[in-house]
């Protein structure tokens, strides 16, 4: 017994993290390597022959596959739109909440709801609200004297409509992250510029933003990566339609792998996407470190 305890004590720093690491290696890293292997092979799941090595053929095909290129541009457009709305709005919300009135605790409760609620439930509600003929949103638009919209049923409005859902769900999280950052800012610079007679806007621009930059970058990075990976909401709301106008890369990879069972091609599609994501996250992290 004592021997076992001695052994455990000596190698505690190896034994303790090993369980969690095993999970990650077994369920994520090993499959990822397998995915890399697959991306160099042509393989139809269910076919009699196994994976056939084809070198870079999958990647060559991807770059001339207009559906794939289109899915990439849709994905990045979606993500870009989400970010340029969520970060400024989140900032405004955080600034409002930072004014310590009593309302702050209950509004924070409310903020948690969109963040935590099941994405599929959110899709169901928004699909109903977006219904062009009897949905509540068009009822409101008409009430305001505005023309009704086709929302997710038209190729031109589907992406903005999906972005609206994303903004609704995730701006509160950005606000909470930035609020946490605001709360931890030192008060002395504010007192100093107050004596110098700076306006509220000047204080925000020259004191708050620079001091808050690491937090803003962190929120940006989190939202950037998560918005690129959005699947449940888009898949359940539109399935990539209409006319594939909302078919993001994730949906493209899903269709290729699990509808047509082209495992090699699907893996290659994910790998290219992953590579782009890595490069941009790396650049953002570098930028974050600089500040």
């Amino acid at each position: 017994m004592n021997k076992i305890i001695n052994f455990l004590d000596r190698y505690l720093y190896i034994i303790f993290p090993s369980f969690a690491l095993l999970v990650i290696i077994g369920l994520m890293i090993y499959p990822m390597l397998y995915s890399i292997y697959l991306s160099f092979h042509e393989w139809q799941l269910g076919a009699l022959s196994g994976p056939l090595f084809v070198g870079f053929a999958n990647f060559n095909k991807l770059f001339s596959d207009s559906a794939y290129i289109r899915s990439l541009s849709i994905t990045f457009l979606y993500s870009f739109l989400c970010l340029i709305i969520e970060i400024p709005f989140g900032m405004i919300l955080a600034l409002i909440l930072n004014k310590s009135f009593k309302s702050i605790t209950w509004i924070r409760n409310i903020f948690l709801l969109p963040i935590l609620v099941t994405p599929v439930a959110i899709s169901l509600i928004w699909v109903m609200m977006y219904n062009p003929s009897i949905g509540i949103l068009n009822y409101f638009l008409r009430g305001l004297g505005l023309p009704p919209s086709l929302w997710i049923s038209s190729t031109s409005t589907v992406i903005p409509s999906l972005v609206l859902v994303d903004v609704w769900k995730w701006t509160p999280l950005v606000a909470l992250i930035l609020l946490g950052g605001l709360k931890s800012l030192p008060s002395s610079p504010y007192e100093a510029v107050k004596i110098d007679g700076a306006t509220t806007f000047q204080t925000f621009l020259y004191i708050t933003v620079p001091l808050l930059k690491p937090t803003i970058m962190a929120a940006l990075l989190i939202r950037f990566i998560d918005s690129l990976k959005t699947f449940a909401v888009i898949y359940t709301m539109t399935g990539g339609g209409p006319a594939q106008a909302s078919r993001t890369t994730y949906l493209f990879a899903y269709d290729t792998s699990f509808k047509y069972f082209r495992m090699g091609y699907g893996s290659a599609a994910v790998m290219v996407f992953f590579f782009i994501l890595l490069i941009i996250s790396f650049a953002l992290t570098k930028l974050k470190k600089q500040t």
């Binding site: 720093y13 690491l21 369920l27 439930a121 009822y139 609704w168 999280l173 359940t236």
Partner: protein, 273 residues
């Protein structure tokens, strides 16, 4: 004069907060409101604001569909995955906090960022070969992908906050390192463990893509079942609103009661470097 300006300021501020709150809450209100509407009123245009509330939609969901089974599937998978995940994460988080194993925490963070498709395609192939598609076992194991990195990452600060003096005291009294972990650190981290368990449960409960790819008829969870409601069937709006309400309710209750603790958990990823 200043007083008037001040109160004007306060009123406009309150108004702004109310508008934000309404924007956040309206979809939930609309879902809840419609879930109790009789069938004819749901599809009425313009929308009906007064009606006799009915439980028909909920009854329909549970009678016409094996919704209780889906609910249990969600419960079983999320509960087991969360418990196993937290148990595996506790020692890892402790070790990272105590021995400053930054590299391991970096691996965990990277794992959280990894796009799911990267490992879901191979996992599907592997499970397919092992005959594990559409089993509780495979889904519980796979959901560890969600619960382990999340729980470990969130537990680290709780262990860091425990002063090492307490450990030294324990060691002097003749406790082994592993004994110190069980007798001193675990009890002190209990509030953190509770928060992390709940958050991890919520994330497992919410998942859609894992069960869509690796699940099937037998292991259909609530989100997948609700999605099938929308695609098959005749777009029965009443059932859809009722189903959405049922999925949302546990999460809404959790977030109302534990909001203060959950916020620190949710945002800590952003505040830590």
């Amino acid at each position: 004069m200043n007083n008037i300006k001040n109160s004007m300021h306060k009123i406009s501020f309150t108004l702004l907060v109310i508008i934000i709150a309404v924007f956040c809450l309206f979809p939930f209100f609309w879902m809840f409101f419609n879930a109790f509407k009789p069938a004819i009123d749901i599809r009425a245009y313009p929308p009906v604001w007064t009606f006799k509330p009915t439980l028909n939609n909920f009854i329909k969901v549970f009678i016409e569909q094996p919704f209780f089974n889906y609910f249990m599937n969600s419960m079983i998978i999320a509960t087991f995955s969360t418990i196993i995940g937290v148990l595996l994460s506790l020692p890892a988080a402790y070790s990272i906090a105590r021995y400053k194993q930054g590299f391991i925490s970096l691996i965990l963070l990277t794992a959280r960022m990894l796009p799911g498709m990267v490992y879901l395609i191979p996992l599907f192939i592997i499970y397919n070969r092992l005959g594990l598609i559409d089993t509780y076992l495979s889904l519980i194991i796979t959901y560890l992908i969600i619960s382990v990195p999340l729980s470990t990452w969130l537990l680290i600060p709780y262990f860091e906050d425990i002063p090492s003096d307490l450990e030294c005291a324990g060691m002097i009294d003749g406790c082994s390192k592993i004994g110190v972990f069980f007798r001193i650190n675990l009890p002190l981290a209990l509030p953190g463990i509770a928060v992390v368990t709940i958050l991890s449960f919520v994330y497992c409960w919410n998942d859609f893509i894992f069960v869509l790819i690796l699940g099937g008829v037998k292991t259909q969870t609530l989100p997948l079942a609700a999605y099938h409601f929308m695609t098959y069937g005749s777009m029965n709006w009443g059932s859809i609103f009722a189903a959405a309400t049922i999925i949302t309710l546990p999460i809404a209750i959790i977030s109302l009661f534990l909001q203060r603790y959950l916020i620190s958990g949710l945002t800590s990823g952003g505040l830590k470097d």
